[in-house]
């Protein structure tokens, strides 16, 4: 017992010296490693926004050109930060978008709205610098003047202006709302049902 204690005493000393030595070598090797710090915002080679992935959930944006006015996003939002007014035009019987507001101050970037959007009109951007001086100014109002809601065409989009936007929207939906494993899951469910 006593002998063990003495042995442990010297082992403790040896361990202390050896482990401190080893620890110091590890930290010493860090002196010549390159720091990882990104010196946001002014000393960066490219804007941080440009380095973020396509699926990054930043501040929301709406492409009114392809918004169908289906209100799916408004219903999906758990905290009601999207407000859409889409009355029917009495004369032309077309749906008009007269108001499309997103309150960025309330938004929690959950992504539910962009998951349900059929055209990828409402989508997250890589922009994240949203700070402002009043809550009022945090509300993004996308409708400047009433626009006619988008209607999907059977033969596919041909308008040279709208086509690329729609293409981007569909790509966004594919990448954002339906990740690869979700597709696999759906396929599995289908095969299970069959």
């Amino acid at each position: 017992m006593a002998k063990n204690d003495i042995a442990r005493y010297f082992k403790n000393i040896k361990d202390a010296v050896a482990t401190i030595f080893e620890g110091m070598t590890v930290t010493c090797s860090h002196f010549v490693r390159k720091p990882y710090t990104i010196q946001y915002p002014d000393r960066v080679p490219v804007r941080i926004q440009d380095t973020l992935p396509f699926r990054y959930r930043g501040i929301l944006e709406v492409d009114l050109e392809i918004c169908t006015g289906c209100l799916a996003c408004e219903r999906a939002c758990p905290i009601d930060c999207i407000v859409i007014d889409a009355p029917k035009d009495q004369k032309t019987k077309e749906m008009l978008l007269t108001r499309f507001d997103i309150d960025i101050a309330k938004c929690m970037y959950c992504g539910l709205c962009s998951e349900v959007c059929p055209t990828g009109s409402i989508h997250h951007t890589t922009e994240f610098e949203g700070a402002d001086f009043s809550l009022e100014s945090m509300i993004r109002r996308f409708v400047k003047a009433p626009v006619v809601a988008y209607k999907a065409k059977k033969e596919g989009e041909t308008d040279p202006v709208v086509a690329p936007i729609l293409e981007r929207g569909m790509r966004y939906i594919q990448e954002f709302a339906e990740p690869a494993d979700m597709k696999k899951l759906k396929a599995e469910q289908k095969s299970a049902a069959a």
Binding site: F21, G23, T25, V26, C28, S29, H30, F31
Partner: protein, 395 residues
């Protein structure tokens, strides 16, 4: 400095003034000079360098915006703290609370009386220098305990008590570590101890015999603990006590505590250097006294700062010890080893009164071997991790 002033008096520089007044004036002058010309900048620059060193170890950059490489960060921080409101809690013991930080700074600054800068630059070469040094640093305990008690805050009180327990405990191993040196040099005067060593490593007391070799490291550990430095910073353990004894402080008084801490780092380095690592000793390369003194100052400063650097590095490496571990380390390990060193050195002096050359060379070679092994391990870690390398200290 006294011989210098005596010479001035003899030359009639202060004709008509009583000698005591001249001494008093000179004391104040040198005090102000050392505090504002050396202590403050050193404490400030150390605070900046420390943050940079940790940053590099943690793969960060650290302060780099104020001045070149952030060098003036310490000035910015100092000015910021000076301009902040100095809050005194309602329930605090007002006079004690206000006075406590001065005690802490006092205890550190007063050590500069006996810490030499070169062979003729020293404020007072007291014949009880080392004793004075250990005695005056004990003032820090008073200040810390006062701060902890007067804050009327449980965190502060626990921090203060812990600090008192720690500093008083570690005074013993620290003193035991410097006693072998007193034996060897036969004097308590700091200049005398340095004069007993030589410029070459094998003339340093650290390499005089195996016991002093151990004592050197023991002293460093004990001094770090006395200075409340990580891994012994339990009095201000952030994760347990918010900020320990300085929880309630703000503004200028808070600044004083940290100035004392960083100034103390240099004091630790300087005392270790003068006791164990040859002090300001340089080879007699010139007969010009001024040049010689400048080189001595440089050598002493570099050696001292080397230890400051090591303490930053240690702080970034080792985790904080627990209170019980701290006490175990002191009473079960350092104190017995300290006695062993003391007795061992005494026996050594009886056996080899002139010192043993072979052992001295051997210890120096051993140190070099340890350093070589160290660099091999560092290279091993670099090889294994394959990091992106970046050698320049500036970013």
């Amino acid at each position: 400095m006294q011989p210098f002033i005596d010479r001035l008096i003899a030359n009639g520089a202060f004709a008509g003034m009583p000698v005591e007044v001249v001494y008093a004036l000179m004391m104040i002058l040198f005090g102000v000079l050392v505090v504002f010309g050396f202590f403050l900048p050193i404490a400030g620059v150390t605070s900046w360098l420390e943050r940079r060193v940790w940053a590099r170890i943690q793969s960060r950059i650290g302060p780099n915006r104020v001045g070149p490489q952030g060098f003036l960060q310490w000035l910015a921080d100092g000015i910021k703290l000076l301009l902040k409101e100095d809050i005194v809690p309602d329930a605090a013991d007002r006079p004690l609370f206000l006075f406590a930080p001065y005690f802490v700074v006092w205890g550190i600054v007063a050590t500069f009386v006996v810490i030499p800068f070169s062979s003729s630059l020293i404020i007072a070469d007291m014949n009880v220098g080392i004793l004075y040094l250990t005695a005056v640093t004990a003032l820090v305990v008073v200040g810390v305990l006062m701060a902890g008690w007067a804050s009327n805050n449980k965190w502060s009180l626990i921090g203060g008590i812990r600090s008192a327990a720690q500093i008083i405990s570690y005074e013993i191993p620290a003193s035991l570590a410097l006693l072998p040196i007193v034996l060897l040099s036969g004097t308590l005067s700091t200049q005398g101890i340095i004069a007993a060593q030589g410029w070459a490593p094998w003339h340093w007391f650290a390499f005089h015999n195996p016991f002093t070799f151990i004592a050197a490291f023991m002293f460093y550990v004990a001094a770090l603990a006395e200075g409340n430095r990580t891994p012994f910073d339990i009095p201000e353990a952030e994760s347990e006590l918010v900020a320990g004894f300085c929880t309630e402080y703000s503004g200028f008084r808070y600044l004083l505590f940290f100035m004392a801490e960083w100034g103390n780092l240099y004091v630790i380095g300087a005392v270790a250097t003068l006791l164990f690592f040859g002090g300001w000793q340089v080879p007699a390369w010139t007969s010009n006294t001024v040049l010689l003194n400048i080189s001595q100052f440089g050598v002493f400063f570099l050696k001292s700062y080397f230890w400051v650097f090591i303490s930053m590095w240690v702080r970034a490496t080792l985790p904080r010890v627990r209170v019980d571990q701290l006490m175990i380390l002191c009473w079960k390990y350092l104190v017995p080893i300290g006695f062993m060193n003391l007795i061992g050195t005494a026996i050594w002096m009886v056996v080899w009164p002139q010192g043993n050359r072979v052992v001295q060379y051997g210890l120096v070679i051993l140190t070099v071997a340890v350093l070589v092994q160290f660099s091999r391990r560092v290279r091993f870690h670099l090889r294994r991790a394959r990091p992106e390398l970046y050698y320049s200290p500036a970013i």
